[in-house]
Amino acid sequence: MTEDLENLSVAELKHRGVPPKQILAEMKRRGMSSHEILDALSPRPPISSRVGSRSLRRRVVIALYGCWLVGVLSMEISVHAGSKWTTAALEGLAFGALIIATVSAVWLGRRTYINAPQIADRELDERLLQVKNQAYRTAFQLFGFLVLFAWPLSLLFISIEPGARGTTGAIVLFGGVALLVNTLPTAVVAWREPDPEP
């Protein structure tokens, strides 16, 4: 049995119904790295079949940041809303928009090559690594520019409206900054990369 296992690929081991624990032990015995084990256990389709069209990716980028903006504005307006129903509707809208923004971020991450750098890097050739590095560079420049506005604006929120509301405004702003940190390089790649060739 052991001799059989030695000559079989991971896919064949799975096909023969070998328990996952035994497959894992066999892969470790073969000296496979953790990345190789991860790849063998859950093979992913190649990047080229995952990227999707550029127009679709751009729409998702717009949805990502647009929904975050709609969510924040709805929350801000809901504070000033007179009736209970209007407040509830605006809060519902904000919640829905933030969910769409989250889904968009996850969708983009799966269709670009920088969502999980350690795993994805091994799929990248030298040109794609250049694209990725360029995206980080552009994202950093954009991020630096946006933070220049976000930082004084958050201080302004706190000074104009001291107390809970000002703090909430500042936290929401920094939530946006956190969103940018996590999604901007991905969004840059999604926005720039052309349609996959047929």
Binding site: I47, D125, E126, R127, L128, P196, E197
Partner: protein
């Protein structure tokens, strides 16, 4: 802007009846990168240039050039005529 390096990858690939996908797999690169190389939109690293040269079994200067290539037909028949 990076200087343009001309190449004959398209001709060599078509001559051998290979698709971009097949060539990409043989070279260990993304298939879109083959398109970028063929159009001259991307200049390969020295390491990739050597891999391409080894794959086609030709010297690097037969595949890449800083000057525009003369058409292969004129190179072949032009020499014969002058000989």
């Amino acid at each position: 802007m990076a200087p343009t390096i001309r190449n004959r990858i398209t001709v060599l690939r078509v001559e051998r009846g290979l698709s971009r996908q097949q060539l990409a797999e043989a070279l260990g690169i993304n298939y879109q990168t083959v398109g970028y190389l063929e159009r001259g939109d991307y200049n390969p690293s020295l390491e990739l240039a050597f891999r391409i040269s080894e794959y086609f079994g030709l010297p690097i200067e037969a595949i890449f050039s800083r000057q525009p290539f003369a058409p292969m037909s004129s190179q072949l028949y032009g020499k014969e005529e002058s000989a």
